[in-house]
Assembly symmetry: C2
Homo-oligomer: 335 residues x 2
């Protein structure tokens, strides 16, 4: 296969703010979500914790979609630790262990320069191989809030999505307002200073994906929802030609009326793909609820599905494989 799937792991303290993130059963558990997601792609279940990441209401991580697509299409996976509390217990490229700080109190990512440089070196090495396309997914609890902050700082009138059907927009906006006040900036003020937006409000996932995309000069699929809008906006402001980029996400992100995925993608000028997965007929509530706005995207689920479709599988086959994997997990739970 001429493509490789890269999973970039990031943490930010923002996910610990109560109510911001449901990418973990509790705010504290969101610290473990990135490594656990990565591990689940390689093993029957994570190693760092004895269960897959779930929302507080028990909805399974979108890593299950990525894992399903990979079981079908057999694409190679490279895990990259952009910056997390803990290292995943799988082979992974170490870029940094810097976690994004709570930007209400201090700049989010003083280490952005080193992270971008390291990731760019990795991108340059990948560029020397026969690989023609990077499909870059992410696992970053709290990442839609950092994404919206970066987009606002750069002047985009964007609302990012959420893994919850009740997008906590007013909380996000309050957190961002506090961050802007702390930094002494207004919306749009960092339009021409993307790296300062990254430093003030970003997260290590964004810095890593930006670096990878700067180093790898062929096609890059940004596999994610509204978080990848922030990455796209950064790349555009860094004067990258957007025609070699695409965002691949899921229909659930596109349909999210609380967010501005399509509008903001158009404003940035990046094309998009939305995986047409359908869990409405699942026998499991945890999966059926994806149709009700839970989870939506993450761990490059849309991009992984896109790779499966390029390899000749249908969205129905990916959905069926997800069902099978979830049944297997449920079987493990109560043997």
């Amino acid at each position: 296969m001429k493509s490789i799937f890269i999973l970039v792991l990031g943490n930010t303290e923002v996910s610990l703010i109560p109510g911001i993130s449901v990418a973990g059963a509790t705010p504290e558990l969101t610290k473990l979500t990135p490594p656990a997601d990565a591990e689940y792609l390689f093993y029957e279940k994570p190693r760092i914790i004895d269960a897959i990441p779930v929302t507080p209401e028990g909805h399974p991580t979108p890593a299950i979609i990525t894992k399903a697509a990979r079981e079908l299409a057999n694409f190679p996976i490279l895990v990259v630790r952009g910056g997390t509390y803990l290292a995943p217990l799988v082979p992974h490229v170490h870029i940094s262990s810097a976690v994004g700080r709570d930007f209400r109190r201090e700049p989010a990512l003083p280490e952005f320069g080193e992270i971008v440089r390291m990731a760019k070196l990795l991108g340059e090495e990948l560029n020397r191989t026969e690989i023609e396309e990077l499909v870059i997914g992410e696992s970053t609890p709290g990442g839609t809030t950092t994404a919206q902050a970066v987009l606002w700082a750069m002047g985009y009138d964007a609302r990012t999505s959420s893994a919850s059907p009740e997008n906590p927009q007013s909380l996000k906006e309050q957190v961002i307002a506090e961050g802007f006040q702390r930094a002494g900036i207004e919306r749009g003020q960092l339009k021409d200073n993307p790296l300062e937006a990254l430093r003030q409000f970003g997260d290590p996932m964004m810095a890593t994906v930006v670096g990878l995309a700067l180093g790898f000069r062929k096609n890059v699929v940004l596999a994610g929802g509204t978080q990848m809008l922030a990455v796209s906006a950064l790349l555009k402001a860094l004067e990258e030609d957007m025609s070699r980029f695409m965002i691949a996400t899921t229909k659930w992100v596109v349909r999210d009326k609380s967010a501005t995925f399509i509008e903001t993608a158009k404003e940035i000028g990046i094309i998009t793909y939305a995986a047409d997965l359908d869990f409405s007929k699942s026998e499991f509530k945890g999966l059926r609820d994806y149709e009700n706005g839970y989870v939506k995207e993450g761990v490059g689920a849309g991009g992984a599905t896109w790779l499966a479709i390029k390899a000749g599988f249908s969205p129905e086959e990916v959905s069926a494989k997800v069902e099978e994997l979830y049944r297997r997990l449920m079987g493990m739970k109560s043997p």
Copy 2:
């Protein structure tokens, strides 16, 4: 390019035994040699320490050959931390931070199973790409002693080479004898138990290369001298088909009369390639001394040269590029 160069980094406490290793200006500095070698491939000089690794007498690391070959042939490099004291300040795949123990006192590598498993997972991912060939080099001070111990445990009547023109064979043999006594085994006793030989006397580089080679099912070039004989012997005992393997080294290893490179390779049944580099006309004593038995090999120098030759360059061009890089280093030293 259909090949990728992988540099596996390993440390073993054995390099701290005075007189065993000259892969560093002092025994203590051998701890820094693996990360510094990796960094020198990416930067003008290492970051973890302000100079390239040298022997106690000042001969430059063979990383200079690898760097020269890469500057010519532009092959991709993936650094893998098999197990070192310190992480290199370059993007690298983390396999472990376990350092091989002094096998005179205790088993060298209780973590061998986890390291082999992790490296095998990485090999499997690489196997899913279009990459047809791994060229695996190493930087492991003290590694010829662990290699000889493993070969002896498995019944090979081998003598490994050394980065010194005065191969400390009697010291190596004394250290190995103490190790065998501690473990309660005799030469050849672990002939059919390669993993126990690895656990008792090996190092994290060996475990990592074995794992990579088990996971990647296409061609593997083991880029090193007598250390790669130990890896080959392990792979053969693990019932791998040796026809997909080759050892690529330098003429200096092949010519080393204190070692048994060709004989042992024949006994194992692995083909070999020896890079015909010639530093005899260098203006620098540090390089000319390679012709007098100093350094000889390391950091996959022979395998990197082989990649350059496959890309259409001559050994003379690689030698000339080494001269250029060394001149650049000397210029940096006294500006």
